[in-house]
């Protein structure tokens, strides 16, 4: 059996560019590879990868494997698992990192079961044990109420990593690295799933994940009308509107606005939580925010434990006055 060597990052691209999370994975992977004194490898899979392979080197990779095929235009479990199984068996890295994304959370478990290994999903921290040299993954469990540190001796050691949990390296255009195309034969007959269409539900304005100010509403907002007031405030702050789970599950707002364990992870400068009680599963998605502000009528609400400033009172009275004063201050 081949020796397991190197730290590999499974990279994702959009329109020929690495995703932000991929640069974060490369930053984390570089640190792990340096600690193990091994190479940082990256694998990119798609129809056309454009400048992304070179970019992976700029962000820290020593060697980038590319797999390009028209059958890989869109992510499909069967085709991508086949490609990754072949690549991992040929290259045999000792660590494989993926992003906790729509792709990563589907690909990692299925690939792991095919390879006979056990991944740690949704890690916030990754470290090498100085004695055993094994990868230790710290991940939220019990809806964010607790964290667990896992280790697995089966190789390759696999982990998926949460967005914004790691920092990318400063891009260095002078870095040198190798790009190695690999060919994987795909049998279309073995791809049992077919993507009929991809429906974008983007809301207008600033993307929630990129916004420096987020105004989020919870169950206490009571219906879709209340969210119009949150939108007004978000506009004044040049930010975006988000929500905890109940407003999404009740269709007051689109599912894509959901912040939390099963939604988006946001880390803005300012996070204004309006009528959000602060369940652990919601806090999983916003606790990385620099400043959390809470408006809630229940003084005992869990959100106040995370907040820097808070108002205890009915949001219907507090919010219009708050928004008006913010507008006045920003205008002046």
């Amino acid at each position: 059996m081949a020796e397991f060597k190197g730290v590999m990052v499974y990279g994702e691209t959009t329109e020929g560019k690495l995703t932000a999370l991929t640069t974060e994975l490369l930053g984390c992977g570089r640190r792990l590879a340096d600690e193990l004194k091994e190479d940082l490898l990256c694998i990119l899979v798609g129809e056309q990868l454009g400048e992304a392979p070179q970019s992976a080197i700029v962000y820290g990779a020593d060697k980038v494997y590319t797999v390009e095929d028209p059958l890989l235009k869109e992510y499909q479990t069967d085709s991508y698992v086949t490609v990754m199984e072949k690549a991992i068996k040929d290259i045999s890295p000792q660590i494989l990192l993926l992003g906790q994304t729509a792709i990563g959370r589907d690909l990692a478990p299925r690939l792991a079961f095919r390879l006979g290994v056990s991944p740690s999903m949704d890690c916030l921290e990754l470290n090498i044990d100085p004695d055993t040299k094994l990868l230790q993954g710290t991940r939220p469990v019990y809806g964010g109420n607790a964290r667990a540190i896992f280790v697995s001796e089966s190789l390759p050691q696999m982990a998926t990593v949460r967005q914004k949990a790691m920092s990318p390296l400063e891009p260095d255009e002078s870095r040198k690295g190798e790009i190695a195309p690999i060919k994987v034969e795909l049998d279309p007959a073995k791809i049992k799933t077919k993507v009929i269409e991809t429906v974008k539900e983007e809301v207008e304005g600033i993307k929630l994940e990129d916004a420096e100010a987020v105004v989020a509403g919870g169950r206490g907002i009571g219906g879709p009308e209340g969210f119009k007031e949150l939108e007004e405030l978000a506009k004044i702050l040049k930010g975006a509107v988000g929500a905890s789970r109940p407003p999404c599950d009740n269709s007051w707002v689109p599912d894509t606005l959901q912040i939390g364990l099963t939604g988006k992870i946001v880390t803005p400068e300012l996070y204004i939580a309006v009528a959000i009680s602060g369940s652990s599963q919601h806090l999983s998605g916003c606790s990385g925010s620099k400043n959390i502000i809470a408006i809630n009528k229940d003084a005992e609400a869990n959100i106040f434990k995370e907040a820097r400033f808070g108002v205890v009172g009915d949001w219907k009275q507090a919010l219009p006055a708050f928004a008006a004063k913010v507008k006045e201050l920003l205008a002046g």
Binding site: T77, V141, Y142, D249, L270, G313
Partner: protein, 268 residues
Amino acid sequence: MPMNMIVCCKQVLDPEAPPASFKIDPASNTVLQPPGVPPVVSPFDEQAVEAALRIKDSQGGKITVLTLGNNLLRDVVKKPLSMGADELVLLEDEVFEGGDSWSTAYALAMAIKKIGEFDLIFCGRQAADWDAGQVGSGIAEILGIPSITVAKKVEAIDGKVRVERVIADGYQVVEVTLPALITVTNELGEARYATLKGIMAAAKKQPTIWKPVDIGVEPSQIGAAGRRSKLLKLFQPVREGKCEIIEADTPAEAGANLAVKLRDAKLI
């Protein structure tokens, strides 16, 4: 076409229990059952039952629920029956305890092989306790069938299944041939309530109980013995809890004062 469906459901600590009641025993790295808060069927799994019931409503079929554990509370694990599922199979034995995604998926897959005929398997996107989201994909891989994860809508059309799979900026419509495994996300919508008739019918139904030997697995392959990952430490993150509450006579005044406070702190 009537569909033969299997839904995997897990009994978990109630994730809606107040966060203050959540306690860990650091010596054993386990979570303590909070007093007065009974366990529940993992909510994502309840929504998986709902997805199966919607298909049964539209074209008929049979739903078998599969639950793994030990000392399972009958009132809890029978809930899918009271919602409208037809049969309940319990993999119940102390050797099933303490498993990870590997040993759990393996035992469930072997039980599904024993059940034999099926068109669709449903699981929740992740269990509300360990939140790993691996067991569904693992079962599909062991059985060698296609899987679609994180589904918010599932419809059966002409012997195939059409699924809306949630992605970051929207959703993808994906079609898959049968048999297949689907994992269900909360965006599917709330699971239906049990009806009185359903509760009475469920009370009369006896679950089928299988031991490891019934599904042809060795104790070394399941539960704690079959793990491929090791839990080193379980802990609660420390929250600072230094919130400054803006005091005022009315909420409106507090709101205005909050804006000034944010300005002073250079946050706006």
